[in-house]
């Protein structure tokens, strides 16, 4: 099993994913530092916000692309058939593959944490909170991309599905805000009861990724307290759900 883990990590290095994404993260932080310097006041907070936002997007997009294209290539090269010919169950295969991609995510999160202070030094504890949140978001998205790529086979389709999933998950607050707001009656009239109910159901099924990686933590720290608790709960529930769905689908597949 460790061989599969090592293989994925080596692939990430061989494909220059680690080097490319590290440089992209560094570039994003430098641009953020420049933008922070261009503001009239609160330049450090501005730079940290832009750096936090852009590094998160780069990290998630890079991981999604890597996972989806890696799995497609493994299907095409029959590497997956080869791996499954060894004494490894399909459940073990899915879990160790996710662990391999997660190893890459952990490393790239560390890179983000190392380069982020170039934009400005966050308050004590804020960087750790943001990094923990970013890592949890990355682990969830790695699992989602793995699920889609194992289910859909086509790299383009799985990339599109993963990005769609991420966008909807990050806009959950917006959609729930519409149907829960003071003008929800107006919204219900405009959208129709069916659509409003559908948004509620989507809100129940999708993870609340909009709560993750809030860049205001980098400026003020966790001033409201307990920011990590809902994120741990969400990750603790959704990660097993995605992995279980991936295992379920992969076990039904014929080779």
């Amino acid at each position: 099993m460790f061989v599969t883990f090592r293989y994925i990590v080596l692939t990430a290095v061989r494909d220059r994913l680690v080097l490319g994404l590290s440089l992209a993260l560094l570039g994003a932080v430098l641009v953020a530092a420049f933008l922070g310097g261009a503001t009239v006041m609160e330049g450090r907070d501005t730079a940290l916000t832009f750096a936090g936002f852009s590094t998160r997007l780069i990290l998630i997009a890079g991981l999604i692309l890597f996972v989806c294209f890696h799995i497609q290539r493994s299907f095409e090269n029959r590497e997956i058939d080869l791996m499954l010919s060894r004494p490894v169950s399909r459940t073990q295969f899915v879990l160790i593959t996710w662990a391999g991609f997660s190893g890459v995510a952990v490393f790239l999160t560390l890179v983000a944490v190392i380069v982020l202070p170039i934009a400005g030094m966050p308050p004590p504890g804020a960087l750790a909170l943001w990094a923990a949140s970013l890592l949890m978001e990355a682990l969830v998205m790695v699992a989602a991309a793995l699920f889609f790529s194992l289910s859909l086979r086509s790299a383009v389709a799985s990339v599109m599905a993963s990005f769609g999933f991420y966008l909807v998950a990050r806009m959950e607050g917006f959609m729930l805000g519409i149907v829960q707001s003071d003008w929800s009656a107006t919204a219900a009239n405009a959208l129709g009861d069916v659509v409003s109910q559908a948004i509620y159901i989507v809100g129940l099924v999708m993870p609340r990724l909009d709560l993750f990686g809030q860049t205001w933590w980098l400026s003020y720290g966790d001033s409201e307290g307990g920011a990590l608790v809902p994120l741990l709960a969400q990750t603790g529930v959704y990660l097993p759900l995605l992995l279980a769905a991936a295992v379920f689908d992969f076990r039904r597949r014929r080779f």
């Binding site: 916000t49 936090g52 400026s219």
Partner: protein, 231 residues
């Protein structure tokens, strides 16, 4: 198979064509920032993928540079101040701890040549003061100044001054108690502004460098204008 002369010639032709097209498009502005009505809080949050602080910082950066980007210059007097102060209020909901927005309102957009527009800024500053227990007195002082010297509404200025004097804001310096008398004095606009700005700086010795610099710039600008008029 190598590269044939035909390939190279075709590459040179299309590259030349691109340079010509690029030259023809040089005058076309890539984007022109226009002050639009502010979106709802939910839409703003969605546009930043759930990261309200990013929307806030991006909004502050855009408001700082509004009217001077995209190769155009839009004078301050041509801005729609109802939309502008709508943006101020919207941005404040995303980060009420930041001072960037009230600073922009108090020390930049409040000095619009179209004086009736300062009414929007006064209303914004008074609303902001209500949710800012520590720095609220500063925004009230500035609103009072705009009411008297930009809007020419002494009744409103006195009302704000009396409200300011009657409050016991923990961070407010003692001199805010004298604001009603200050408003009744027949002092010139720039002289009054200089006194207020200097008073704010003296009452906050721990002020951040960038904040202090904004006030120093404002004092220098007003001093230069005053000396220019004297000559």
């Amino acid at each position: 198979m190598g590269v044939s002369p035909g390939n190279l010639a075709f590459l040179a032709v299309v590259l030349t064509a691109q340079v010509l097209v690029g030259y023809g498009l040089l005058d076309r502005r890539a984007s022109q920032m226009v002050l639009t009505p502010p979106p709802s809080h939910e839409v703003a949050l969605a546009s930043a993928l759930g990261d309200g602080e990013f929307f806030f910082r991006k909004g502050v950066l855009e408001l700082t540079n509004i009217g001077v980007t995209g190769g155009t210059l839009v004078p301050m007097k041509e801005l729609d101040y109802a939309d502008l102060t709508g943006w101020f209020s919207l941005l404040d909901t995303f980060d009420p701890r930041s001072m960037a927005v009230p600073y922009l309102a108090a020390y930049w957009y409040g000095f619009t040549p179209n004086r009736p527009d300062s009414r929007y800024v006064i209303d914004y500053l008074l609303a902001r003061a209500e949710i800012d227990p520590l720095q609220g007195w500063r925004w009230r002082v500035q609103a009072m100044f705009f009411a008297k010297h930009r809007l020419g509404d002494l009744d409103l200025a006195l009302e704000i001054a009396e409200n300011l004097a009657a409050r016991d804001d923990p961070e407010a310096p003692f001199w805010v108690k004298h604001m009603p008398a200050f408003m009744l004095e027949g002092m010139g606009e720039r002289e009054a502004a200089l006194i207020l700005l200097a008073g704010i700086m003296e009452s906050k010795p721990d002020m951040a460098d960038d904040e202090r610099q904004i006030l120093i710039d404002a004092i220098e600008r007003l001093t230069e204008e005053t000396s220019g008029e004297t000559k």
